[in-house]
Amino acid sequence: MIFSSHIFLLYFLPLFLLGYFLTPDKWRNLTLLLGSVIFYAWGAPDFILVLLGSTIANFYLVKAMHRAPQPATKKLFCTLAILLSMGLLAYFKYANFFVDNVNALLTAFGLDSMSWTKVLLPIGISFFSFQSVTYVLDTYRGINPPMRRLTDYVVYIIMFPQLIAGPIVRYTDIADQITARRRLRWEECLQGFYRFIIGLSKKVLIADVIGRTVDVTLGGDIAALDMGTAWITIVAYTMQLYFDFSGYSDMAIGLGRIMGFKFPENFDNPYTSTSITEFWRRWHITLGAFMRNYLYIPLGGNRGSQLRTYFNLWIVFLLSGLWHGASWNFVIWGAYHGFFLVIERLMGIGRQRRTWMVLPTFIIAVVGWAIFRIEDLPSCWLFISRLFSFDFTGFALSAHPQFYAMLVLALCFAFITFFPFGKRLQQWVFYTNYTSRCHIPVWVVSLLLFFLCLGALSATSFSPFIYFRF
């Protein structure tokens, strides 16, 4: 089930929330658990047992780890628990990629390729695997004790608001909220509802609209694209991705807030960054934090030689790239960002915020998204060459005015916090408790946006005929 679907918005969510609000405080986790199982099983019935099985196994492994008196035994259980989480991720997400590459090599050497049945990817595995890892390692490091109840742990892993696309909530950040949340307050619920609607609107009214033109352009003849079309397309994709992903995060954060959780922010105006280093502190923040806490620092971080630090950085970004998808373009995309991070370190860029660096940073990010978007490497290279072709003949982009309107709107929103009034606006919209007088207009606007989104979701495939018989 996805958030931007009628079945979620009009049936699952209201009925779940009704049940959740009517449940006494101490049983709410069970309601949430039940809702999350239904949510996941609806979209991926084949994998719900894999998810539950691995989660339960992990819970008991960590429990055993915590009880183990010997450090070596603790380490063993910790390793087993991590292997279980990462093993599942490796199998489901990377086995096909691995076999495809081995087969390509075998074929190149004139050998027979291996036969292999493609493995389907369980939705959300990249997120819940990482959350399991944070649980194992935070417990192992003694930051938090393990959960006492299995159901609480399963809730942490498969809680539906952040199960599919994050944010990756670190165990230590949410452990207390799972076991002892504050009583629900209607202002919090409403603020959560507003945040959810903002996310839904970003996804349905902006990202999806922009995405339709991007898909058409990139699905066509890339070689025929002039430079202007290529740039508009990739900038549009840059906005589509941001509004899609941050919209989803907004919806997750809003839903969490309605239920009494406080999830971490996942985006902080990434396109106003003045360096790639800063970009990664603002883009997919929870992934960056995960990579820093559970990979970069264990690798040695910046405590070793400079060369070692650069190597660590680069490895982290290479793996970050691979985490986004099992394909070479993601690896190259990770390496591309890693390269710029190393360059910035070498040149001392990013220590001080220089406003003029926003544009070059944005351009680097935009070109990076071309690598991210176009999986086929020759096509990707061709597209990048079109970006710098200086061919201005025959502007080929034929887009609906709605595309341009949404693109401009997206650019405005993406860069609004570059200005002080934008920062104040953001602070007011997202982080201020509204007065009762404010709630009414905000509520009305939210409902209007909600109904507009519902209409848009239907209208996308809305196609009446005058005379259907024809």
């Binding site: 079945i7 009009l10 969510l13 409902l447 109904f451 239907s458 196609s463 005058i466």
Partner: protein, 462 residues
């Protein structure tokens, strides 16, 4: 307010389940989605979820209002149509995209990229039609083609910009067919030209701003002209029609705003031009004049006529063969797709066979939209000349040829699988298609110049 929000959601769910509150339905015809029945197997495969989501997408409570809200937003903000069946031109003029395509590129590209090939195709179809006309004339049946105008032909100045259409303009059916009809002696009335002639002097809109079909009033005057032409070719004048009281009305009559309805906005689209209508009356039937029988085979432009005229007053019967596939016999409100009726019986018992096609559909003159082999012109030509046994024998012969060609069979095998037919059915269907789309290849008499002399036994014994 949280409670309000929750109650609102529950009302939507309740309305979705009961549809208790009457909400005006969306306009236009839609794909009808049924609520899927649950099965564990479908759930496991995700099919149940997919079908239920699709169903809910159009059946949730107050969905009509949310869709209209979005459509209104789309129209008001972008001044574009939210549905692909409508293109927006200047001054709020709405068009169907295929008419726009016909204006800038011609619809030739649907069939070929070679103008000569298209003209050749039309030439052959005109020759066939001339033969059918001549054969039916022996039985006292009068055949004629009514070339109905298309909106972009009459009001190109209001058409949307060329936009994505980039190919060179090819020959248009409305320009190619009339000289061919003249050449082969086919009866026709070019109402497209008539509209162009009166465009600057008519005191009413020939096409409504918000509709795709000819305006109610213009179609009424045009049909009156056509009735006179029918009387002219048969030598038997039809019952005179009296048109009077040209007047304005504040709101449009159907289908003068059919495209606006497809857009489904919350509020009516503003139109600066008045809607004009005319009253239709019928003079007494002169003594010794009988009401003729007619078959009209054509597109949706004939609907206007059925709304404006009491066809019972003019004809003994007027069967409407909508795209030659949905047949309206006795009532224009009940149709059949039954193709079991006998073409020859039908054609021989009428007085008029009228092919009624607008400029955009003229490319497919005689088409049957549900049966690729069912073009009325070739069907009539073959069936009026040959008995069913001969036709069937010829089909079997083609089947044998097909079965002897491994590549052909392999191709049809794939096609049969796709369409859920047996290979034998597919082979026979292909053979039928060949025979009725290229009858001259299988019946040499039909290929010869002039009127074929061979007739089916029903024709001979009529």
């Amino acid at each position: 307010m949280s409670i309000f929000t929750m109650v609102m959601f529950l009302i939507i769910i309740f309305q979705g389940a009961t549809h208790l509150v009457p909400v005006p339905k969306l306009d236009g015809e839609f794909e009808k989605y049924e609520r899927p029945s649950f099965s564990a197997q479908d759930f496991a495969s995700g099919e149940y979820q997919r079908l239920l989501s699709r169903f809910i997408g159009y059946h949730y409570g107050f969905s009509e209002w949310t869709i209209r809200l979005y459509c209104q937003y789309f129209w008001s903000v972008y001044h574009r149509s939210p549905v692909r069946q409508v293109a927006v031109g200047k001054n709020n003029y709405l068009f169907e995209p295929y008419f726009v395509e016909d204006l800038y590129e011609s619809r030739m590209y649907k069939y070929t990229t070679n103008p000569e090939e298209l003209i050749q195709m039309f030439d052959q179809q005109s020759q066939r039609l001339a033969k059918v006309q001549a054969i039916l004339a022996e039985a006292g049946v009068h055949t004629l083609v009514a070339c109905i105008p298309g909106k972009t032909n009459i009001y190109p100045e209001f058409a949307p910009p060329r936009d994505t259409l980039t190919r060179p303009l090819g020959p248009r059916a409305i320009e190619v067919y009339p000289p061919l009809f003249d050449k082969y002696g086919v009866n026709y009335i070019n109402l497209n030209q008539w509209f162009l002639d009166i465009k600057d002097t008519a005191s009413y809109d020939l096409f409504p701003t918000l509709g795709t079909h000819w305006s109610n009033v213009a179609s009424t005057f045009a049909f009156d002209t056509m009735l006179r032409y029918m009387g002219h070719i048969s030598g038997q004048p039809l019952r005179p029609v009296v048109l009077s009281h040209l007047h304005e009305e504040t709101s449009p009559r159907w289908p003068d705003n059919d495209l606006e309805k497809l857009i489904n906005p919350l509020f009516h689209i503003k139109v600066n031009r008045p809607y004009k209508y005319v009253d239709v009356d019928y003079a007494p039937l002169p003594p010794n004049v009988r009401k003729p029988k007619a078959i009209v085979c054509g597109d949706s432009f004939f609907w206007n006529i059925t709304y404006n005229f009491q066809l019972d007053s003019l004809f003994d019967y007027c069967h409407y063969w909508f795209y030659n596939s949905t047949i309206y016999f006795d009532s224009l409100f009940s149709s059949t797709h039954d193709s079991g009726f006998d073409y020859v019986d039908q054609l021989l018992s009428t007085d008029y066979l009228i092919l009624f096609y607008c400029t955009g559909q003229l490319y497919d003159l005689g088409i049957n939209t549900t049966d690729a082999a069912g073009n009325i012109i070739t069907q009539a030509l073959v069936r009026l000349c040959y008995d069913p046994q001969i036709i069937q024998a010829q089909i079997q012969q083609i089947c044998q040829t097909i079965r002897g060609d491994a590549n052909w069979i392999a191709r049809l095998d794939r096609k049969a699988t796709d369409r859920g037919l047996s290979l034998d059915q597919m082979v026979e269907e292909d053979a039928r298609y060949l025979l009725f789309t290229r009858p001259e290849d299988y019946f040499p008499e039909l290929a010869a110049p002039g009127i074929p002399t061979v007739r089916c036994s029903k024709f001979r014994n009529r």
